[in-house]
Structures are given as C-alpha cells and as structure tokens.
Symmetry: C2
Subunit: 240 residues, 2 copies
C-alpha cells in the first residue's frame, strides 16, 4: 500500500462467512448434534462443505436475474433440501432443517477475530459487508460478539457479491471516498470486485475455511496479505 495513501484510511469492510466466522466448524457441529439425536451416521464436515458448495451457483442465478431475490437464509433452505435428497437424509424433520439453517446464525468466530477487530476498531470504522441478510448478520454478530460499528448487507440492494453495487454501499452510506475504505476478505473474488470499485484490499489467509490447512490461492494483487486479524491489525497500525 502506498505510503501516501495510508494515513487517510477510515473504513474497514469485512466479509463475514469464512473471513470472520468459521461456517464449516459451526455447521458441522450442528449437523453432528442433529445426527446424534437421530442416530444417523453423517460425515458432518463433508456435509458442511457440500452445502457451502451449493451457495455460489444460487447467488449467481439471483444476481443474473434468473431467480427472484431471496435472502441467504432462503438460499440455505433451498440448497439444504437438494442436499438432503442427494444424501438420502430424508429422515430429517422440518425442525431439523430449520435448526441447520439457523446454525449459520451462530457460527464461531476464528480465534483471532474478536481481539483483532477490537484493536482495529480503535482506529477505523468497522462494517460488515456480507451476503448475509441484515437480521442474519445481526444474529451472527451478537452470537460471536463481533465489535462492528455497522452492518451493511446485500439485502439493502437485493443482489449478491460480486455485483459492483454491493461495494458501492460503503462510499454511498459511510460517506468516504472508496480509496479511504478497505475490503477485508479471505476470498480473492470478493477483493477483486472491491478493487474494481476503488476500495483498498486486505487478503486474510483462512487455511481452515475448508478444513484443508491451505488458504485460498491469491491470484490477484492486493494491498495487504495478513495471516489473521491480529496480523492485519498490526500491519494497519504500523502504517500510520
């Protein structure tokens, strides 16, 4: 990041699922509990991975106008229905399905997330900028005690990342030029779209997002690469 640009950074916009909270761990834990109650044998982490993999195609169809707008909860519910059929888990009740969809509302934060955010919040405005709905993100933030100043959801404009309008919520609603804001994410596609709207970019490695021990490949140029939020806080602090 160019030195001249450092001192005027004002807003950090965080991707949430995968970047701040561990969707795989949270969903697998809930599936393990459901399976135990039903005396089923399920590979819960693999179940979480398969469910998450159904996410982007849905969002693409909504973004492209092939499907009507729906919040992420509805996408999760529809894709869970598909998955249950594929895995022959029809013994799950409607209440079980509700419980699994709601698992996405109380996901565990990565161990460094809350402390790192608290450090960054002393200097910067922290906003969520996520594909989750507003109520969904409020639940996630409360459950994980995430110290956000503000919640910005794609629900405000009824599309999904990486639609450019998502990233323009930051300058439009938080009254900063895009270059005084930074997108923080563990996904290159999200950062590339943010950079396309003039935001700065921080890639945070989350090697356990898919349980592989390997972070996503970073095939684009970013302003900061961080090992976790404590490292990001230090790098942003050092830049002042």
């Amino acid at each position: 990041m160019a030195r001249s640009a450092r001192s005027d950074l004002k807003v950090l916009a965080f991707d949430v699922f995968g970047t701040v909270v561990d969707w795989r761990g949270g969903v697998a834990a809930e599936m393990t509990a459901v399976a135990k109650d039903l005396r089923l044998t399920v590979d819960a982490p693999a179940f979480a991975d398969r469910w998450r993999s159904k996410y982007l195609p849905y969002l693409n169809r909504i973004r492209n106008g092939e499907m009507p707008w729906q919040v992420l909860d509805a996408v999760h519910r529809a894709s869970l229905g598909e998955l249950i059929n594929e895995l022959s888990l029809q013994s799950l009740t409607e209440a079980d399905l509700d419980r699994l969809v709601f698992a996405w509302h109380h996901l565990p934060p990565w161990p460094d997330a809350v402390e790192g955010m608290a450090r960054m919040r002393a200097r910067y405005v922290l906003t969520a900028l996520s594909n989750g709905g507003m109520a969904h993100l409020v639940d996630v933030n409360r459950a994980a005690r995430l110290p956000f100043d503000c919640v910005l959801s794609v629900e405000l404009i009824r599309t999904y990342k990486p639609d450019p309008r998502v990233y323009r919520l930051v300058p439009d609603l938080l009254a900063v030029p895009p270059e005084q804001s930074m997108m923080v994410a563990s996904h290159a596609y999200d950062l590339a779209a943010a950079a396309g709207q003039g935001m700065r970019t921080a890639f945070v490695r989350r090697p356990q997002e898919w349980g592989t021990g390997k972070p996503e490949t970073l095939d684009i140029s970013v302003d900061i690469v961080a090992e976790d939020f404590l490292d990001l806080a230090s790098q942003l602090g050092d830049l002042r």
Copy 2:
C-alpha cells in the same frame, strides 16, 4: 403492555437525537468554544434551541417532496446558514460552520443511556432508527460508545420521520413482525407513527432535552412510560 405480548418482544428501535444523546448540551458546548475562540458573546443554549427548531420544517419539506432529498448534515448546514444571518454572526468562518455541524456527530449520551442500553442488549436486539444519515449515526455511536447491534437510518429510504416507510425498515430488515419490536423515543410524534405501523412504544422522559426541566407532553397512549433507560431496562426485564 398486555402480558400475552411481553415474552416475544425481540427488537428495540431507538430514536437517537434527544432520546439517547443530548443534542442541546453538545451543540451548546461547541458553540461556546467557537464563540470563545472568536471573542464573541453568544447565548449558546439558546443558539442550540433555535438551530434545532429549524429542523422539522426542513424535514417536512423534504418528506413532502418540496425539497430534494438530503442527509441531516446538509439540513444542519443549510439551517445554520439561516441562523447565522438571523443572529448577525457572519464573523463565523466556513471552518467554524463545519465544526458546528460536526458537533452533531459527537454528542454526549444522557448519563443513563449506555448502561441502560447494555442491560437491554442482553435480551433484545438494539437498533438505531433515526433521522441521522448512516455515517452520521456511526460517528454518534462511536463517540458516545453506544452498544447498538445495528444502525437503520432514514437514508436507506431517503425520507424522514414520521413517514411510515421509516418504521417499516424494522420488520422488513430485522425479520420480526412489527408487534415484536418497540420504538423507544422521547417524542410523541415518533411513537405515534411507530404505533401506526404496528410497533410497540416506550416513551422515555427527557426533561432536559430543551433545558426546561419538563419532558415533552405525552398526548398519546403508549405501552411503557419510563423515567430513563435504566427504568426502561427494569420495566422490560420485569415483563419477562
């Protein structure tokens, strides 16, 4: 409030200026400081009162479509220009005017506000629902350390209270039926409009809002009347 309705309350939506923070004290303090720098004699509390009095007519004109949409900062700037002329305070510089407009971004909370909100937040989702713009409200919340879960501004729909669409932001974005939400305000007009959209209502007395020692007259029926936020927290706790 009917006993049957008590246990399912989920969201508390707070008016901010006057209800949570003391605009008169904060604006008067800034005007006192500006006047001292310029060696002017100004009745700073009366200045704050006159400025605030210019607020509703502007908002009415914007709501009625007689003026184009503008955020509250712009309303404050325009009405301050009028006031400066009326009071023959043309010696104030543009920087002084900016400083006064920005005083509305770092207003002191009422003494009970933060503790009362922290108590209520343990049980309810707390959102701002205010005429301030998004960035403005984020500044207010950070300066006063207000423990909101979420910020909902009229800027999201580009109108002002008491337009019914303002109150519908709560069920629409926070995924609760209106009757599971409660508007908290020290102004009857705000509560009347919220009730009109099915929200419950809590009137909080703020006898020093205008420095008179007398809270606003409550000429409507509300679910709760509270002396301050600690009293409100106790009344909401007792209801569970």
